[in-house]
């Protein structure tokens, strides 16, 4: 370790931050795109229905369309809030 390393900041370089943010974002946007057109609307409708009973956040609902063998599978993953937190 050279003397100059001492002065180096440990902060990650912004280009690296940009790359990581883009990789996450684009992965999500591609999933939204690859599904049928109704997927975003379906997600909203499901949110509305659940909100009648429980307060949930956008991030608590995960709608994904996948493929298992020859079947298309619509996977809904809804995280309900902790009862004690209500």
């Amino acid at each position: 370790m050279g003397i100059f390393d001492y002065f180096r900041t440990s902060k990650p370089k912004t280009a690296q931050v940009a790359k990581e943010r883009l990789q996450i974002l684009i992965k999500h946007e591609r999933i939204d795109r690859s599904g049928p057109d109704f997927l975003p609307q379906l997600r909203n409708d499901i949110m509305e229905v659940i909100r009648k009973y429980v307060q949930i956040d956008e991030k608590d609902v995960n709608v994904q369309l996948g493929r298992v063998n020859n079947y298309e599978v619509l996977e809904l993953n809804i995280t309900l809030p902790d009862r004690t937190a209500q």
Binding site: K13, T14, A18, L22, I26, E29, R30
Partner: protein, 269 residues
């Protein structure tokens, strides 16, 4: 058969028109009969970058609506006998741009024996952009090493793969990634996305990297496509890009920080 190439990006200000002008000029200088069409109805600028703004009489919309024929509207470039510019309308309603109209103009250009038709897309994903890409065989996706540009390029790639005639027929458009305003020094210091990072994220074949260069502004100031500036790094990189597009194998240049020699250090340059 003409080969139709759309120059697109999603985001504005990344260099679509600069690229369209350089690309069309480069193809024409290599001997191909080339037309370059401005699809940005209401915000025409290709004429200005090509230096023919004072010679515009009729435009793309006039041709589509039958007020002028294609021969009257095409502006012959002053520098190359093979190059013709079809300017966008500056005043007319965007709705005048119709799919049937665009198809007819492209068909007429094909019948006139054009080898290449370059479609300069407007920014965004509205009608003009959608129609610029719809009939394309190839797409040049212009991207800056900057997060919003990369994201928008990915969005455009999605549209190229679904909302084009080729996609509807189950075929696919050839995609080419062109990175512009690249600064090797900023990449080296970790402040700019590297070419390899952009390729990894977008997963599109690279056709060129244009370095950030003052000569691009100088070229647009004077209305001379930057590819004609043989001294500038950007001009040379655009020439490499055209040659790659035509099938030549040309190594990428200007990707490393230029080491200034003693002479340059002493006397500048």
């Amino acid at each position: 058969m003409s080969r139709i190439v759309v120059v697109t990006s999603g985001k504005g200000g990344v260099g679509k028109t600069t690229t369209s002008a350089a690309f069309a000029t480069g193809l024409a200088l290599k001997g191909y009969k080339t037309a370059v069409i401005d699809f940005d109805v209401g915000l025409r600028n290709l004429d200005l970058i090509m230096g023919c703004e004072r010679r515009v009489v009729y435009d793309f919309i006039n041709v589509i609506s039958g007020e002028a024929n294609l021969k009257q509207a095409l502006i012959k470039d002053k520098r190359s006998d093979n190059l013709f510019i079809l300017p966008a309308s500056q005043t007319r309603d965007k709705d005048a741009l119709t799919q049937e109209g665009v198809e007819r103009v492209l068909k007429d250009l094909t019948e006139d024996g054009f080898d290449f038709i370059v479609c300069d897309s407007p920014a965004g994903i509205e009608r003009g952009a959608a129609l610029a890409m719809y009939f394309a065989d190839d797409a040049v996706i212009v991207t800056n090493p900057e997060v919003s540009s990369v994201r928008d390029s990915d969005r455009i790639l999605g549209l190229l793969q679904s909302r084009t005639r080729k996609a509807e027929r189950g075929e696919s458009i050839r995609e080419h990634l062109l990175i512009t305003r690249y600064s090797p020094a900023r990449v080296a210091s970790g402040d700019m996305l590297a070419m390899e990072d952009i390729l990894e994220i977008l997963a599109v074949p690279l056709i060129g990297v244009i370095p950030e260069s003052g000569s691009v502004l100088q070229a647009s100031n004077s209305g001379v496509p930057v590819i004609l500036d043989k001294e500038s790094t950007a001009g040379q990189a655009y020439d490499d890009f055209v040659r790659r597009f035509l099938g030549e194998t040309v190594p990428h240049r200007f990707l490393e920080v230029e080491k200034k020699g003693l002479f340059k250090r002493l006397f500048g340059g």
